[in-house]
C-alpha cells in the first residue's frame, strides 16, 4: 500500500502579520512548523504502516517555498519514507483552487497511490478546502473530518466522519482522499534516529514543468479568489436592556428577533 500525506508549513505564531500591499501573510517573519492538523495525518499514515501486514510506504508531499523543506524533514524524522516538495516561483499567489490543482498534478506525478491523507484544515488559512478540491481534480472519493479508520482493505476503507451529533460511518473505494481530525490519534514526537536520517535524506523536488501543470491553472493566474480586504474584526458589545414586566419584555424580544430575521 502506498500512502501520500499532504502537509503544509504554517507560521508557528498567531501573531503573523499581513503584508499591506499583497494582503497575504508575511510568512518569512516567523518560524515555520508543520500545520498542527497535518501531524495527525502523518501519525495515522505511520500507524497504518506499522499495523499493515502488506508492505506500506508513506510519502509526505508539500507545496511551498524552499523553506518548506524543514517541515518535510520533520515528517521524515517522525518516520515517513520519502518526501516531495512541489516548489516553483510560478506557484506564487496560489489560492486554494490553484493549490488543489497543483497538488493534484503532483499526486498524479508521484502516482501509484492507494490512500491520500490530509489534516482537516490549515491553521493559517483555515479554509479546509484543499483536500476535497484536490480529490475532485483527480476524481477520487473524499471523506472529510475522519475521526477513526474502522477498516482498511486493499480496495476499500470504512471510516467514521465526525459530525456535531456523533459520527457517520462511510465506506470509500480506494484510492481515496481523507482528511482527519485531532481525535484520531496522538502524534508521535520525532526520534533521534529519525532526525539523523531526515538530515541526510534528499527531498525530492517537483517544478511546474515536472508535474506538467497548465500555466493558466497555477499561481496567481489560476487563482479565482480575490482578496479585497483583510482586517481584524473590532470587538464591540452592543447591549440593549429591555424594560418593563416580564411579559412585555418577552414580546419586545420576539419582535426584535423577528425584525432581525432570526425568528
Amino acid at each position: 500500500m502506498k500512502i501520500i500525506v499532504l502537509i503544509k508549513q504554517v507560521p508557528e505564531s498567531n501573531e503573523v502579520q499581513v503584508d499591506p500591499e499583497t494582503l497575504t501573510l508575511k510568512r518569512d517573519t516567523v518560524e515555520g512548523i508543520i500545520n498542527p492538523f497535518d501531524m495527525y495525518a502523518i501519525e495515522e499514515a505511520l500507524q497504518i504502516k506499522e499495523k499493515n501486514s502488506e508492505e506500506t510506504t508513506v510519502s509526505a508531499l508539500s507545496m511551498g517555498p524552499p523553506q518548506a523543506e524543514s517541515a518535510l524533514r520533520e515528517a521524515l524524522a517522525m518516520g515517513v519514507d520519502e518526501a516531495w516538495l512541489v516548489c516553483d516561483k510560478k506557484f506564487a499567489g496560489s489560492d486554494t483552487w490553484a493549490t488543489s490543482y497543483t497538488l493534484a498534478r503532483a499526486v498524479e506525478k508521484i502516482g501509484d497511490y492507494d490512500l491520500i491523507i490530509a489534516g482537516k484544515q490549515a491553521f493559517d488559512g483555515d479554509t479546509a478546502q484543499v483536500p476535497p478540491e484536490m480529490a475532485e481534480f483527480i476524481s477520487l472519493p473524499f471523506c472529510g473530518f475522519v475521526q477513526n479508520i474502522e477498516q482498511l482493505k486493499s480496495t476499500f476503507m470504512v471510516v467514521d466522519r465526525m459530525t456535531e451529533e456523533g459520527f457517520n460511518r462511510v465506506e470509500l473505494s480506494l484510492p481515496a482522499v481523507i482528511s482527519v481530525v485531532k481525535d484520531i490519534n496522538v502524534p508521535r514526537l520525532p526520534s533521534l534516529k529519525g532526525k539523523i536520517r531526515a538530515r541526510k535524506a534528499t527531498i525530492k523536488q517537483l517544478t511546474a514543468e515536472d508535474i506538467e501543470a497548465e500555466e493558466e491553472n497555477i499561481g496567481i493566474n489560476g487563482s479565482p479568489t480575490q482578496v479585497v480586504k483583510v482586517f481584524t474584526p473590532e470587538y464591540s458589545t452592543d447591549t440593549e436592556y429591555l424594560e418593563g414586566e416580564a411579559k412585555e419584555q418577552v414580546s419586545t424580544l420576539i419582535s426584535k428577533l423577528q425584525e432581525a430575521n432570526i425568528l
Binding site: 508521535r188 514526537l189 533521534l192 534516529k193 539523523i196
Partner: protein, 385 residues
Amino acid sequence: MIMDYNLNEEQEEIVEIARRVAEERVKPVRAELDEKEEFPTEILNTLAQSDLMGIYIPEEYGGMGYGAFELALIMEELSRVCAGVAVSYAANALGAYPILLYASEEQKQKYLPPIASGEKLVAFGLTEPNAGSDVAALETTAYKDGDEYVLNGTKQWITNGGEADVYTVFAVTDKKKGARGISCFIVEKDTPGFTFGKKEKKLGIRCSATRELVFQDCRVPAENLIRRPGAGFLIAMKTFEKSRPCIGAQAVGIAQGALEEAVAFARERKQFGQEVINFQAIQVMIADMATEIEAARSLVLNAAKNVDANAKNGDISSSMAKSFASDVSMKVTVDAVQICGGSGYMRDYPVEKYMRDAKITQIYEGTNQIMRNIIALGLKKRLQS
C-alpha cells in the same frame, strides 16, 4: 543556556528532542504525577521511542553511541520540567554503567541491547540501612555455592526499585577484605528470593520509585558476577565518576526551571504600581541566580567532557560538578520561591516543587560532604609540589 557551548548539530537535535518530550509530554502531567506519586512509565516509553534511553550506550550494543556529555544535556532538559521523571531516566544509566564499564562481552551482549532500547529498565543497588556514604560497611552478603552465588540482605532507597527489570547489586563476598571484598552482581527481577520492600514517601522527586530490595537466599548464576570477586568497590566508584555529572546536570535543570518561573512571575506581578522585576532587590536575586546557574552548567558540561575523554582526575571534576551544581540548585530554588512570595509557597505554582526536588541532589550519588572528601583527598594525593 545563556552561553554558547559549541554544541554540534546532533547535540542540538538531542537537546531539541529532550525539550519536546519535557514540554509536550512531561509538563502537562508533572503536578499530577508528583501529587499521586505515580511512576512515569508512559514518559519513559516516549523517551525510548525517541531513542534517548540508550544515548550513552555504544552502537554495537544497540545504543546511540554518545556519552556522559549528551546524557547531561538530556538530564538538564528533563529536570528543567520535572526532576522526578529525570531521575527515573538517569537511574537507568547509573544501573547500566557497571555493565557498560566492567562486564564481559557476553554480559554486555545479553543485557545492554534491551536497556538501550528501553525494553528493560535498570536500577543500581548499593545503599543499605547502615551503609550509605560508608560503602565499605555493606552488610548484604554473597557466598559461592557451586556455580551460583547466594545473596542475603536488604538494600534501601533504591531508585527504580520494583520498576526495573535488571539490577546491579553490590554485596560482600569477603568480609575480611573490607572495601576490596565487595562484588557486583547482575540480578534479574523475578529471581526467586528477590523481593521488594515498601515504596518510600519522599520530600521531592515524588513520581520516581524508591524501594527496598530484599534478598533472602537469592541464587544468582555465577556468570552474573561482574568482572571478578572484590571488584565491586572499584566498579561503584568508577560508575559514580561517570554518573555524577548527570546529577549535576539534573541540579542545573531544576535551577533553570525555577529561574524561568521566577522571572516570568516577577514580570507579571505588580506591587506599588509596577512589576516587581523593576525592583533592584529582585533584580539582584535574579542576576545572581542566573550567574550561578551558568557557572554550574559550565562546570557540569566540562566534567562530563572530562569523563567522556577518560581524562585524569575524573573523580575530582565529577565531584566538583555534582556538589557545586546541587548547592547552586538548592539556593536558586529557595530564592525562586522567595521571589514568587505567597504564590511560590502554594502548590498551584510549580516553584515549590523545584525547591523540594532540589534537595535530593545534595544528598544522593554521594552526599556533598563526601564530594568534598573526594576532592580534598584527591588534591592531597595529587597536588604535590
